[in-house]
Amino acid sequence: MAKKDFLKAFMTDQGLNSPHLNETCTGSSDFPVTETLKDLPPVTFLQTVSQTVRLIEQKLNEPVFKRMHIYLQGIDNNVCCMLQALLPAPAACPAPASRRTLSPTPTVGSFSWKLERCKIIQSYQRFMEAVGKVLETWGASPGQRNRKRRSLLNVLLGQRRKVRAG
């Protein structure tokens, strides 16, 4: 059964379907790992997730990532909703961070651009995998029965599964 995920789709689209390139894409990640995330308080955790997602969104701003973009926005939306359940409304959903100045990006379509984007996507999926693991440790509570929170978990788990499948 075919399983769609962003990394595989990107690799396929960009002609990077080779085992050694997969290894090339695999590299150090700037995003927090599971060990980091699991020790964070829930609000901080959620805010970290939100900020990371927005950062990835900024990095993947080319049109080819339009579909991934909307997924990221959905995750950010769900995180925001969870924060609203934990914090007063104004502070719940922080305004999008000002676009940080990113390092100069290679020309779109160039091999270096492909490798860079490949690394970002893989880092994103690792990060989401870590988020999923943390969320799975959250025990069931009346708040978790909240539909928005469940949706968030599902989104995160869904993305994680896709990452695993890829």
Partner: protein, 925 residues
């Protein structure tokens, strides 16, 4: 389209009006109108008030000396009533319309130039429409993982350009609007959706009259996913197990979740109802499923659908159908088996025709390769044969036999079907009872009561019962427990003869039969009715039963319709068993039209119309009238005859007077001094005044057609003339004259007269007859020859005289009349003299009959004369004649009257003896 046309028309109107009432722009040469309407392009909702203002241009006002009072409004060509106008100021006037939707457009502002010339200033096109209704019933569905389609009910048509936008948002973000494609106002497809993120969706409808939003719906797209159906569905069977089929498929790829569940349905190829595999057996993700408990060698069709295993979302559509056939198994039933005996074979043998039915597919469980027939009994203890056909004929002895049959396919043989063929002397018995056949649910059902004896099976035979076709039976076998079955492949409107035969261990039982229809119909035609007997007030109608092929059902009754040509139709219902009916009461002497209809349970059919007429009289009625009448007539006749016999003499005297026998006549003595019969004076001498007096002449006129009536008389006349000729120069006696006198007395007289005219001789024996015949009064007085026995005068015997008579009497020979002048008749005076001719016409009223009667009378008188009593009588008459002669200067009319009176008075015929003429008459001698 109408809007476009109206706009084009308005453009043309505006352009045209600009030509008439515009102001030249001094600079650029452009033209501008003398005013305008506010608003320029209004859109008005129905049932709302609309106000338009026409503002006149100042320059135009001054140039044409106009003001707002002169403004009037028109909608199309209809002027708006002034009551709806409002003069706002010197240059502007408004109009208020209550309901523009019923008025239409364009709305024009016009002005009356110089008080009489209508000029258009400006016009606007009013658009009428509704604000959008609030969209309702918004729903969305996610197709796989790619897109989401939302649908809604836009409400009533707005008749305006209305846009619909599908809006969506997350709690933190407004999502991109979805714009429906052109001409779509009730759905929109969102390209990318994100599952597990709740979103709000709503529709906004907007037009110039406003906008409205639908209710919002909030959902997680994962809950409204409808996947594509499974694909590549295949079906395979198993040789080991003939009752299973394995269904395989591929799951949809584009899906936002992993877990799936399925619905698998199947049916046989010819069936329409699906069987669903229990959902709990297919509630997990898979790509194949094995279906059990299927029929062998049967084709099944499969279809599958899937959805989220958790039950969220929608079932996919059903996949394309795929079919497979289960493997064969041995036949599950023995074939139906029966036989017929042809006993015509001699020498202790007989032909047995074994026959059997092919197994239905559901029982054959495969392709039947052949049948195995086994026969036991008789001299051949065992006989076995494989045959592909479904019948076999064997020549067997009269001994009892047992036959068995097996059907074989590639897997194995069926159970045997056994049949006992009894011996030649077998007597069938134990029939079934209460056999009934009836249609139900488009099938013909047969029901019976089983016999008390144990039955192995039943054979049901049937055939079309027809007058024209032989009964070719079809048959079917039923089990021993069967009491009710139905027959297959029957035709409607056909009569079937159904026979049920119970089959026992020792052979078949007695058959029982019944007739039935699968479906009745009205008869193909109606009965031919005719009359057997028609009476004055009744008619016996007869007809024949319809042939079975025309009945199309059981004839339940007949209806006779009869009517007169002008009367209402009367219907009479007759039982179907009858073939004769008496119509009564009927009207005599009347034409009746009768037809007859035969009815089955499904309707009737009229037969041809038959007409008959009732007689005016009943049978024997005419005889009852005629016979008495005839008897009465006969009786009357007999009485008359008897009376005649009794009064024969009297009758004879009146009808057949005695005719004197000429042979007994004898010539009397003639006086040599016989005076001249006529005084043949010249005309002027006899009739000094030129008149022809009555006493001078007597005329007998004979119509020409009398010849026809009495040809013998005329013939006699000719003979008489000839005789006259032949006797010329002789002094003929009275006997010769008497022979002719019976029919020609007047002729003789006339001859005498003519001869008298020519020769001036006298006739001494003429007789004047006054009386009519048989009491009939002659119209004129005639002279006739006497039956005297005196010899004729020479002059009378002259043939030339006769010739003269003919010429003179008729004028010419072609005249149809004969005139005879007795006295003083001058040839010169008779023919040309019209009064004489007219006179002769008057005399002609003495017809031929009178003539003949006169002759008879004379003959009778002759007899009287001979008897001796006549002369005295004659003398009396002569005296009367003398009186006539004495008064011969009287009128003709008078003469006739007297003559008639004389005849009437005397009452009987008279004859005269020869006499001498005195003054033109005859004087007795």
């Amino acid at each position: 389209m109408n809007l476009c046309k109206m706009l084009a028309l308005w453009t043309w109107i505006v352009q045209a009006l600009f030509i008439f009432l515009t102001i030249d722009s001094v600079g650029g040469g452009l033209l501008k109108p003398c005013g305008h309407i506010i608003p320029e392009s209004p859109v008005v909702a129905p049932n709302t008030t609309f106000t338009a203002i026409c503002v006149l241009d100042e320059e135009c006002l001054s140039e044409h000396h106009l003001n707002a009072n002169q403004i009037f409004w028109k909608i199309k060509d209809t002027r708006v009533p002034k009551e709806q106008y409002t003069i706002l100021n010197r240059t502007a006037a408004s109009v208020t319309l209550e309901d523009v939707s019923s008025l239409g457009s364009p709305l024009t502002c016009n002005i009356l130039l110089y008080g009489q010339i209508e000029q258009n200033i400006y016009g606007i096109q009013i658009r009428v429409g509704w604000a959008p209704e609030k969209p309702k019933n918004l729903s969305c569905i996610v197709n796989g993982q790619s897109n989401m389609k939302c649908q809604w009910d836009p409400g009533k048509e707005t008749h305006l350009d209305t846009t619909y936008v599908l809006k969506s948002e997350w709690p933190t973000r407004q999502l991109t609007d979805c714009i429906p494609p052109p001409n779509v106002n009730n759905s929109c497809t969102v390209d990318m959706v994100v599952v597990y993120v709740n979103m709000d969706v709503w529709v906004v409808a907007t037009n110039v009259l406003g906008n409205v939003s639908s209710d919002r719906i909030n959902f997680d797209p994962i809950d409204i996913v409808q996947l594509l159906p499974p694909y590549n569905v295949t079906v395979s069977n198993s040789k080991e197990i003939s009752s299973i089929l394995k269904v395989s498929w591929a799951n949809p790829v584009d899906k936002p979740f992993e877990g799936l569940k399925y619905n698998i349905r199947y049916r046989t190829k010819d069936a329409s109802d699906w069987t669903l595999i229990p959902p709990e057996d297919t509630a997990s993700t898979r790509d194949s499923f094995t279906v059990q408990y299927l029929k062998p060698f049967t084709e099944y069709v499969f279809s599958i659908r899937c959805m989220n295993r958790e039950g969220r979302g929608f079932w996919s559509n059903w996949s394309a159908e795929s079919s497979g056939v289960t493997y064969e198994a041995k036949p599950s039933n023995a074939p139906s088996f029966w036989y017929e005996i042809d006993p015509s074979q001699g020498h202790g043998y007989r032909l047995v025709h074994l026959k059997w039915k092919t197994l239905p597919r559901s029982e054959a469980n495969g392709r039947i390769l052949d049948y195995e027939v086994t026969l036991r009994g008789g001299k051949t203890s065992h006989f076995s044969r494989l045959i592909n056909d479904t019948k076999m004929t064997l020549n067997i002895t009269n001994d009892p036999y047992v036959a068995s049959l097996k059907a074989r396919n590639i897997v194995g043989s069926s159970d045997p079907s056994t049949l006992t063929i009894p011996g030649h002397d077998f007597k069938a018995a134990h029939p079934i009872t209460n056999l009934k056949a009836f249609p139900k649910d488009n099938e013909l059902w047969v029901q019976w009561t089983p016999p008390n004896e144990p039955v192995n099976k039943y054979i049901v035979e049937w055939c079309v019962f027809s007058d024209n076709l032989p009964c070719t039976p079809d048959w079917q076998q039923e089990g021993s427990a069967t009491k009710l079955t139905y027959l297959r492949d029957l035709m409607e409107s056909k009569c079937y003869l159904i026979t049920v035969i119970p089959v026992y261990d020792d052979g078949p039982g007695s058959p029982q039969s019944v007739k039935a229809y699968l479906k009745q119909a009205p008869p193909s035609r109606g009965p031919f009715v005719r009359t057997k007997k028609v009476g004055k007030n009744e008619a016996v109608l007869v007809w024949e039963h319809l042939p079975i092929d025309d009945q199309n059902g059981f004839i339940r009754n007949y209806t006779i319709f009869y009517r007169t040509s002008s009367g209402n139709e009367t219907a009479v219902h007759v039982n179907s068993s009858h073939t004769e009916y008496t119509l009564s009461p009927l009207t005599s002497d009347t034409l009746y039209m009768v037809r007859m209809a035969a009815y089955t349970d499904e309707g009737g059919k009229d037969g041809p119309e038959f007409t008959f007429t009732t007689p005016k009289f009943a049978q024997g009625e005419i005889e009852a009238i005629v016979v008495p009448v005839c008897l009465a007539f006969l009786l009357t006749t007999l009485l008359g005859v008897l009376l005649c016999f009794n009064k024969l003499d009297l009758i004879k005297k009146h009808i057949w007077p005695n005719v004197p026998d000429p042979s007994k006549s004898h010539i009397a003595q003639w006086s040599p001094h016989t005076p001249t019969r006529h005084n043949l004076h010249p005309k002027d001498q006899m009739y000094p005044e030129g008149n022809f007096t009555d006493t001078d002449v007597s005329v007998v006129e004979i119509e020409a057609n009398e010849k026809k009536h009495l040809p013998e008389d005329l013939k006699s006349l000719d003979l008489f003339k000839k005789e006259k000729i032949t006797t010329e120069g002789h002094s003929s006696g009275i006997g010769g004259s008497s022979c002719m006198s019976s029919s020609r007395p007047s002729i003789s007289s006339n001859d005498e007269s003519e001869s008298g005219q020519n020769t001036s001789s006298t006739v001494q024996y003429s007789t004047v007859v006054h009386s009519g015949y048989r009491h009939q009064v002659p119209s004129v007085q005639v002279f006739s020859r006497s039956e005297s026995t005196q010899p004729l005068l020479d002059s009378e015997e002259r043939p030339e005289d006769l010739q003269i008579v003919e010429n003179g009497g008729s004028g010419d020979g072609a005249s149809p009349r004969q005139q005879y002048f007795k006295q003083n008749c001058n040839q010169d005076e008779i023919s040309p003299d019209l009064p004489h001719f007219e006179r002769s016409k008057q005399v002609s009223s003495v017809n031929e009959e009178d003539f003949v009667r006169l002759t008879q009378q004379q003959m009778s008188d002759q007899r009287s004369q001979s008897s001796g009593s006549g002369p005295m009588k004659d003398f009396e008459d002569i005296s009367a004649a003398d009186n006539f002669g004495a008064s011969n200067d009287g009128q003709i009319q008078r003469f006739e009257t007297i003559g008639l009176e004389a005849a009437t008075d005397e009452g009987m015929p008279k004859s005269y003896l020869p006499q001498t003429v005195r003054q033109g008459g005859y004087v007795p001698q």
